[in-house]
Symmetry: C2
Subunit: 377 residues, 2 copies
């Protein structure tokens, strides 16, 4: 299949403050986004794709002159791909608080004229959905054919169905959950403590000190990475393979390939990811819980949703297990909503939602064919 | 049931160096141990209990004048308990490298006259078994009725059957594994990196700097703690319960009870546990792999074992899952060894082996009744 080829990010400035769930507000802000394909005359074929922790507006295609710059869901989105850009107008937008271009903690705080740092307001999934809705207003898109996301992106798709049910037809909620479990929160909290207690964090104002809390970011990423992979896939990929033929008998040197891999992932991540963004995005994950205002009754919470749903989970995903997706499906069925559910037998754990799995992609493709028929795309 | 009452640790000094698997050796060293019950005239009723990461020779009973000083397996061991000290002579010994009394990294390195720190030699499960065997020599115990341990302690019990098959009758291998999986090693490695990259670690020689790498120890313990509990038990115990009625909308303040619990566990641990010990013991876990010299054929590795076995696992233990125990059972059956296996349906994850579960304790009790009959205890 053809790729989208070269794509170019765009940005829009929003002068009107964004009122946040916390009670604070984000003064003026900029959103960076990308679009692929053409908006049809009826303006009915737009699909919003929401990103997770370590991703951005750069969903598909690549950047001119930058090898290996494919977007994070390039295998899913493009001409002839499951989300077919020959039929749909696809929008990717970087959420505020992130570190890939939209206004975030590394940008100037108008109140202090210095980088926001730890003073960047806490943002929630609901706040991101509002920011995305405003972007659509500016793009002249009243109604989305679909909102799609995996993991934290799936939470945004789910939240769209509750915040703007009238503005969308379909929600694709992939490898996601109606809220984090205690274990999920626990892993987030350890990662945050690693960052916050790194002496180079300087209470979140490390920018002024010319240092980066790399130690904390490395540890945070290593923890995260373990939870993205399945036990089995880690065993298959690394097992107990040693880096050298002989053991070094050392507590500090690398003995096992898995150690080498994790350290490499941690090192890479600590070079490009912002520590305050890590805190903000893990907190947005923690806070998301649409059932809480309904006495933890998810069925009651989802009564507002009128979209049709595709929910997908992966058997070996222990971060957001199939059980969590089935909770969403059950709550939708309790409300007699139109929901298709697929549980994909895949070995790759949570990461599976980003990988090229034939059965998974076939299901998404079939679902978007239905959406295309409905909206005349 | 009656408790053992007050117990007193003892210690023995060993002047002959202990040759280690790494090729290094431990010069002279001291072992701290406790014994409960009476050695019978035939010297046939001794049971060695091996400890895991965060435990010691203080297995049962309590210390005079110290409230809440019960040993870590006090619910299992004592008069009338599953391992009945009215019938058996029970020995608990602190392994070298640990931080509870036996020679460890915080003690004087005779080569430098300063604390060993990071220069304490890397110790393995096999080295600990040798140190334990020497202790038995000094205590005049030629043959053990049984060796028993959970988790890393179970690895020592298993290793005993390979290193000194002629010196033991039974092995009780509980909540253990024939080696660590890639995921197990990964969690250990993240914890080690958190400690080693703490600026207060000073390359393992923090004693001289008057500081402790508490930040790293906290994070290490938090990670460990998540893996000791089952997802379900964490959900039952904490779920998404908030600490206050109102959300603070903060990345640094505690919002959820699970965060408060984990921070508390990390804080406590960082006050008493030694950072170098943490590195040493997690490495001993990583290295243990009796099948490696046999081309990863566990059945071939266990051919030397002549002991009779009780192997116990817990359904919700995802750190050392039942599958790992079944690997041991299968390898023993391949060798036509006498093995009893129990898979206990318990909700508590890896921690279950330390808890008071009626079915689990009944099985251990029944097994020791058999051992008692065999050795005339």
């Amino acid at each position: 299949m053809a790729s989208l080829g070269h794509v170019t990010p765009q940005s829009l400035h929003f002068a009107q403050p964004l009122a946040l769930r916390s009670g604070a507000s984000l003064a003026d802000y900029t959103l960076v986004y990308e679009t692929y394909g053409e908006l049809n005359a009826a303006r009915s074929n737009a699909v919003l794709v929401c990103h997770a922790l370590n991703a951005s507006h750069h969903v598909a295609g690549s950047y001119a002159g930058q090898p290996r710059s494919e977007g994070w869901w390039d295998n899913m989105i493009g001409p002839g791909k499951p989300l077919d850009t020959d039929r749909f107008f696809v929008i990717g937008v970087n959420n505020p608080g992130s570190c890939f271009g939209s206004t975030g903690p590394m940008h100037r705080n108008p109140a202090t004229d210095r980088p926001y740092g730890a003073d960047f307001p806490v943002v929630t999934v609901e706040d991101w959905v509002e920011a995305q809705a405003r972007l659509l207003d500016r793009l002249g898109i009243e109604r989305l054919a679909a909102v799609m996301g995996g993991s934290l992106g799936g939470m945004q798709a789910l939240s769209w169905t509750l915040q703007h049910p009238e503005r969308m037809g379909h929600a694709l909620v992939i490898a996601s959950a109606p809220n984090l479990s205690a274990q999920n929160i626990a892993f987030n909290e350890v990662a945050r403590r690693a960052i916050i207690t790194d002496p180079d964090f300087h209470g979140g104002h490390f920018y002024a000190h010319g240092v980066l809390p790399r130690r904390g970011l490395r540890v945070a990423r290593m923890i995260g990475h373990i939870t993205y992979l399945s036990d089995d896939s880690m065993e298959q990929k690394f097992g107990r393979a040693l880096r050298s033929a002989e053991l070094a008998y050392s507590t500090q040197e690398i003995e096992f390939q898995i150690e080498s891999y994790l350290r490499h992932q941690g090192d890479k991540f600590s070079e490009y990811f912002d520590a305050n963004t890590y805190l903000l995005i893990t907190r947005a994950l923690d806070y998301f819980d649409p059932a809480r205002p309904f006495g933890n009754d998810l069925s009651a919470a989802l009564a507002r949703a009128t979209a049709k749903f595709l929910v997908v989970s992966f058997t070996t995903d222990w971060r957001f297990s199939p059980q969590r997706s089935r909770e969403i499906v059950k709550a939708l069925l309790d409300n007699r909503r139109d929901v298709a559910y697929a549980e994909i037998d895949a070995p790759h754990g949570h990461d599976a939602f980003l990988l090229d799995d034939a059965r998974y992609h076939a299901i998404v493709r079939a679902y978007f064919e239905r959406v295309a028929r409905e909206v005349g795309a």
